[in-house]
Symmetry: D2
Subunit: 320 residues, 4 copies
């Protein structure tokens, strides 16, 4: 196993079809903080963030995932990652310093399952608003937590992220009775439940971005806030506790359908003898510990992903 020091999922970049509508949703609705913007893009951060952005919105013709970005502990690791990716013959390009505003140079690839993924180390610093409580609004998002991806070949994806990139598994779900197989996995670099969740599905598609909120009450307050400014139809999945991850959640969707999980409550996963928690797909408390099933849209709808070189949206295919 390699041991690149990937710190954590650091930001997500989404293509949206109406930047002003998106701004209203994320800034007025979710309360994210605008660091910079022009007529093509918007750089947002969360309350605890000491860097330029954890969410980038880009004006585009169709909504899709532009890229996920992981932060590494030093510039030197980018060169090592490049070596690995070249050996793997993955689509790859260097993003020069400043090409993504506020960010140092970055290595961008299409991962083996087709996801656009970026690795970088440097980003402009900003003053966190942690103790400027009067500026905490909407969902009072503290920081980005994880990305959830629908992959065609989860066995390959699991192996690649754990063996090549040093992700560890906190929980996983299996399906099938006669012959059991992996259905989903929660992988992490920071010592939480996940930086990256992957589910065996029609793919590649991007399911949601999870953001950390301090507590369940604040998530309920976020629902009230969203509903009172007209976003009640954007609250897709009612508040509940996940069986897997044990987190309390609500899911909301932006005007393009990009899905955000407001999330709180995971646990420490870095002890050396941690054993991943195993769930069976048909466990009645897996999806929601309280028994409620997610709505059909949550199970069925997800976003296409963009190619890092061509800019085309990748075709989606059934799981292998």
């Amino acid at each position: 196993m390699s041991d690149f020091n990937i710190i954590r999922l650091h930001h997500v970049s989404l293509n949206v079809t109406d930047l002003e509508k998106a701004r209203h949703f994320y800034v007025e609705g979710l309360g994210m903080i605008e660091t910079a913007s022009d007529d093509k893009q918007l750089f947002l951060r969360a309350i605890d963030d000491a860097n330029h952005h954890c969410l980038v919105l880009r004006q585009a013709d169709q909504p899709s995932l532009h890229h996920l970005a992981y932060r590494v502990s030093s510039e030197a690791e980018l060169a090592q990652l490049e070596e690995l990716f070249l050996a793997e013959k993955l689509p790859l390009r260097w993003v020069e310093k400043g090409e993504e505003q506020g960010q140092g140079r970055a290595l961008r690839i299409q991962d083996p399952q087709g996801f656009p993924v970026e690795f970088f180390c440097e980003m402009d610093r900003v003053k966190p608003l942690m103790q400027n409580f009067h500026l905490h609004r909407g969902a009072k998002i503290k920081r980005i937590d994880h990305a959830n991806c629908l992959v065609r070949d989860i066995d390959q994806a699991y192996q690649w992220y754990t063996e090549k990139l040093g992700f560890r598994c906190s929980e996983y779900t299996v399906s099938g009775e006669a012959k059991e197989r992996l259905w989903a996995a929660w992988l992490h670099r920071k010592p939480s439940v996940h930086d990256l969740a992957m589910i065996r599905e029609i793919g590649p598609r991007y399911h949601h971005t999870g953001f950390w909120i301090d507590d369940a009450k604040t998530i309920l307050d976020a629902c009230d806030h969203l509903a009172s400014i007209g976003y009640h139809q954007n609250i897709e999945r009612a508040p509940g506790r996940h069986g897997t991850s044990n987190a309390f959640f609500v899911y909301v969707r932006d005007p393009d359908g990009h899905r955000t999980e407001l999330y709180t409550g995971d646990y420490f996963t870095n002890d050396p003898d941690w054993e991943p928690i195993r769930w069976e797909l048909n466990h009645p408390q897996r999806a929601t510990f309280w028994g409620t099933l997610p709505p059909a849209s949550w199970r069925e709808e997800a976003m296409p992903v963009q190619h890092i070189l061509s800019g085309e949206l990748l075709d989606v295919q059934p799981p292998v």
Copy 2:
């Protein structure tokens, strides 16, 4: 308008088919406190209660509503109520002191819509457990709040309760476009949103009992507690905020299907110029302010009610 001093909805009596299963749900699950019991009945109270019971469970062959009970401010009012009910030619009987354990004499009627309703003043006192926080368990129910009844003729029911018994209306829902008509009403005696909600439906059927919880977080904790002891399938309707009443809620069902609302958050309704809040049936935020619809079972299922004299369950009929 008469002006009997009905204080509030005080307790509910339910017929259950397995007293031990019911005891486990209400005591171990919801954390209600057992005041007294024998092999046929169980008297439960809530944390703030200074009297013998706010919920009575009775062993029976079929689940149903045995009766709702309102407390009046003095014994003298019972005689005045009898006079009214006799004039109305309603089925009526006196329940002698002690016939319902811990309770003084009571006047029991079948109301014009068919609901078994009791009026009483005296009940044995007990020490409230308000500040015995170590004994607060499960849903940490503080007190009973309201009863929700499905009535065939809501215009009649509304008129009777407001004009004959002095209930006031806090909120109401109308349906229909060309010709608007009353669909539901929230009526109160104590200065909250309601002691009695009524909905135009197949009736008479009993929909749920609402209990007061201190705050939304405690309701979420109750879900965790219920789900961890195997009652996840009993959580029928996920947590949310009602448009009507503005309360935060979750709905759970006991082993017989009796429905309980864990409820928090209403407002003061006794100012002299209070104007009832009007909702249209098709308002997307009426049922849930956050947009989610209740599940089919919540909309369709409710309990039959028992006749106070014959003990028979009343036939249910479509709304008029």
Copy 3:
């Protein structure tokens, strides 16, 4: 006992020495909503309020209590109250409709302990902001709850409010061992712990106004908000639970020293057999159920009260 239908404590009017500083504290700090103002006065309301104001701030040379106001259920009761007060030979005057902006005519007296008290029925209606959650700010105050007064002769005050005006007692504190005497009482008209608390002290002085908040978490959020905009020195008494009243609280002081209690968690007190809860003054959990003592300023400092006719501040004297 008379039976005037006093509904509840409805608003408080305070004299402040710098209206702009006071506005910043109550509007930006506590999040109260401005209904109307001019250069001499400011009318504020809370989230649930359906009427013009629950707090009036008036520019004055010295900070003091201008008056407390109780709402009655009809205009007719004002005449009955006048009759009582004339018989009692209390200082009295009619406040004409509109003299206090937004309010109908009112009867203002100096109560036997020297407090300026007003009774009124009519007030302009406004739309409550209950479900405009995006406009809930600061302490998210829902409504006024109670007034706390320091009186020289508590036996007289208790007798007058309970026997002449129909207040009921929910809790009380006694002091002394050989010969026990009343030290404090919590009196209510609405069915909560109190509309009016009175403590035997140097008086007449006004101790604080209590406002209702939905839950304890919101009170903690209010502290964060106040502290982040520079009001940390205004948080006088740290969050805790009262033994008496069982409420969760924090106390804050405005720029003039007027004290506000952010308060949540009382209970229903209108059952006919409610027996007041008795506390001994030296019970270690009386003031704070968690054992902490209030700071000296909380115990020692309070506001003078104004005469309704002369406008002079009343001399304060030791308790009798």
Copy 4:
């Protein structure tokens, strides 16, 4: 700088003078879970814990700190640590597997400031009670978070932990005007605010153990629970938010005076460009963001620490 992979502060071992009284406080009061015990010692764990203990209580003649324990990622690191400690000529001994029940072999030292500190990797696994919500009681402690030590020479301590053991600094406090010097530091291995806080004081003394709670409301519930079973005098410092660390806290003391912080709300500290937050000792919001000062006992009282070889309690001396 060395780079031993110390994972986190893992457990604390305290000497108590009455094991039964201590058991009642930690199990009935704080809700910790008993894994094992005999008449001399008690092994407790928290809700999320997947290992044998995070707190050990040992019967002794005098209360003191027995040792702090850090977990490392592999057995191999223990040998490297031994090499370092031998070079530093620190008092050292190996604790054989099982000498501390449930734990593999451990290396125990007296650190340069005199604190008894243990390093280990292996510990018996247990099933976490994370989703057994019905077994969560008292303070609902999820896991241990940090230790707070009073050291005589903070410059030496800071240098040793950061340079020799690879701790990083999240926040620090400086005192003095003409010549500024370090007064306190928050050091971490896991990516939170701290595993180890150190304050320049009379030392060596142990100030408190911090345990992680999910949210502020649960900490308030813990106060209610403790106070209702007679531990109101054990609540030493009222709930508040720290300036430093930004955490919400309450401090309680066990029957021997060992101090526990119930703690929630820190932030992610492992980004490569994290810059420690600087506080001045006289900042009015440093100790409590809301302005309240800690009580004298909190500032002045702390526990002696035991020598790992002699078992004697170390003399305490003024800071250098």
